[in-house]
């Protein structure tokens, strides 16, 4: 019965959802990370203004999560092509698969960038506070952030690979 329901849901719904989630969730994660690190950075810079220029790197790492989402969303939406429903009222398997692939790809990059953004944000906030106390700590904590932002990269790579198999025509 469920198979019947899913077969009749338009794959274009899934595809559109995928594009939306790709950019929506990624930007949400990036924004979350930026406010986490930004509020600590602004406060710590009152006493130790020297930390501002170096700690903008944390903000840039969060921003990268959003950029991954934009790239993926653009790639995904170019994949979507208009193919009419088959003569028997059923979508062909190829089109269904393509719809699901676009959805999966978007969800993949969206969720991974969401948590990557939060991660980099929390670490970035601690980095700003630690740097204000002792400037030798900055580079060491930056390494942690680099590993954190690699998570978003994994999401993009897998999303691109999935979307490569999404062929509507």
């Amino acid at each position: 019965y469920w198979g019947l329901v899913f077969r009749h849901i338009s794959p274009y719904m899934w595809a559109s959802l995928g594009c939306a989630l790709a950019i929506g969730l990624s930007v949400a994660g990036a924004a979350w990370g930026i406010f986490l690190t930004g509020s600590s950075l602004v406060g710590a810079a009152v006493k130790a203004p020297r930390i501002t220029s170096k700690n903008l790197i944390s903000v840039i790492f969060c921003e990268a999560a959003a950029i991954y989402g934009v790239i993926t969303a653009i790639i995904l939406q170019t994949k979507v092509e208009d193919v009419p429903i088959g003569s028997d009222g059923e979508w062909s398997v190829k089109i269904l698969k393509a719809g699901y692939a676009v959805f999966g790809s978007g969800l993949c990059v969206g969720l991974s960038n969401l948590v990557c953004g939060i991660c980099v944000g929390i670490v970035g906030s601690s980095c700003a506070l630690a740097d204000a106390q002792n400037s030798t700590l900055f580079v060491k904590i930056l390494v942690i952030e680099i590993f954190g932002s690699a998570l978003g990269l994994f999401g993009v790579i897998v999303a691109i690979i999935i979307s490569a198999s999404a062929v509507f025509k």
């Binding site: 986490l36 406060g43 710590a44 009152v46 969401l114 939060i118 506070l129 106390q133």
Partner: protein, 375 residues
């Protein structure tokens, strides 16, 4: 996305178990900065400006109060001490340092959201209680109210403080003035006796108010949950135990009965309830020491105090308080650092006062005995 936000928010509000789930830990970290991230960073910046060991050793080599003032203009206190007129008094120096604390605290309090604002209010109720007792004691000794207002701690001022002089007994005190202040809930039937105010009653009043306040504060922190609850639980437990110790030591040999003494001890802390029972029965310093040494945390402090040296205990307790305050800065995303900052700043002001007094009275050899390093 909405689901993850929702689940984080729900677990943030449920983070009152001691062992938090990973979800509530993440939630606390991810949502704390919304309201309090900026202020936390400001407080950590203030902590950067506390006087270091090097500063204290330089200060102890000063020869006069003018030198001290000159040195302090190069620290965070610069703006506040540089306009002090000669001839310099210790009280003027200490007042200007306290003014810096008051201004910092006012800035933080203005910008604080809830529940941080309420937490910060709780931090200063102790000073309010001290001010109330100061005015009432002064009125008993027939001092001028305005003089007394000058001596009050600025962090504990409230509007109706000056009108405390009119009260004749505790019930009037409560009914006329204190019912409108945040101290109102700390009065209960047991201490609203209509006896006239005299020295002993006022001391007992101070201690019962403080007990209710500490219990209330502990309850509030517990309801906040998360790291704040953890950090403040240990801090306030130490405060409660310390007050129990001081009450015991001060009431040995006085008319305070054991039951009365017991009633002044808080309802939390490592000594509650068994250690407190032993303390209530103690009659001299050695039995107090025996009671305290049963608690592993305090055994260390007491082992460093020689037999019969009750006066060195004060410094040990301040040491311990400062140590705990500094340790609370190791964790991020909790309100405990605000309370700790207050404690550290006040200790620093006490240090400056001690150093100034030693130098003014030409007793430089005793400087190191009295200061507690806050870094």
């Amino acid at each position: 996305f909405f689901f993850s936000c929702f689940s984080l928010a729900v677990s943030a509000s449920r983070a009152d178990k001691v062992a938090m789930s990973w979800l509530s830990t993440t939630a606390e970290m991810a949502l704390f900065n919304v309201k309090s991230g900026f202020l936390e960073a400001i407080v950590r910046g203030h902590k950067l400006g506390l006087l270091t060991t090097a500063d204290y050793s330089n200060l102890s080599q000063c020869d006069s109060l003018e030198d001290i003032k000159l040195y302090l203009t190069g620290t965070d206190y610069g703006d506040y001490v540089q306009n002090l007129a000669a001839p310099l008094q210790t009280t003027a120096l200490v007042e200007s340092c306290t003014q810096k604390l008051v201004d910092d605290w006012a800035y933080l309090r203005e910008n604080a959201g809830e529940p941080l604002g309420r937490f910060m209010d709780y931090c200063v109720y102790g000073h309010m209680i001290d001010n109330v007792v100061l005015i009432v004691m002064g009125t008993i000794h027939e001092r001028d109210v305005n003089e007394l207002l000058d001596k009050c701690h600025p962090l504990g001022l409230f509007d109706s403080l000056a009108s405390l002089g009119v009260a004749q007994n505790v019930r009037d005190l409560y009914r006329l003035v204190l019912v409108d202040t945040p101290l109102a809930p700390y009065f209960s039937e047991s201490n609203l006796a209509s006896e006239d105010l005299d020295e002993i009653n006022v001391e007992i009043l101070r201690n019962t108010l403080y007990k209710s306040y500490l219990d209330d504060f502990a309850q509030f922190c517990k309801s906040l949950g998360g790291t704040t609850a953890e950090v403040m639980a240990t801090t306030l437990a130490f405060q409660a135990d310390r007050r129990a110790l001081n009450i015991t030591l001060n009431s040995i040999g006085t008319e305070l009965t054991r039951d009365d003494r017991r009633r002044l001890y808080s309802n939390h802390g490592l000594l509650h309830p068994h250690g407190q029972a032993e303390l209530a029965a103690a009659d001299d310093f050695d039995s107090v020491r025996a009671a305290m040494e049963r608690v592993p945390e305090y055994a260390g402090i007491f082992s460093r105090v020689g037999a019969g040296e009750a006066h060195a205990l004060d410094k040990m307790l301040y040491d311990e308080e400062v140590r705990r305050a500094v340790n609370s800065f190791e964790q991020q995303f909790h309100f405990g650092i605000f309370h700790s900052y207050l404690a550290l700043r006040e200790q620093e002001i006490r240090n400056v006062m001690w150093i100034s007094e030693c130098i003014a009275q030409d007793q430089k050899g005793r400087i190191l005995d009295g200061i507690v390093f806050t870094i």
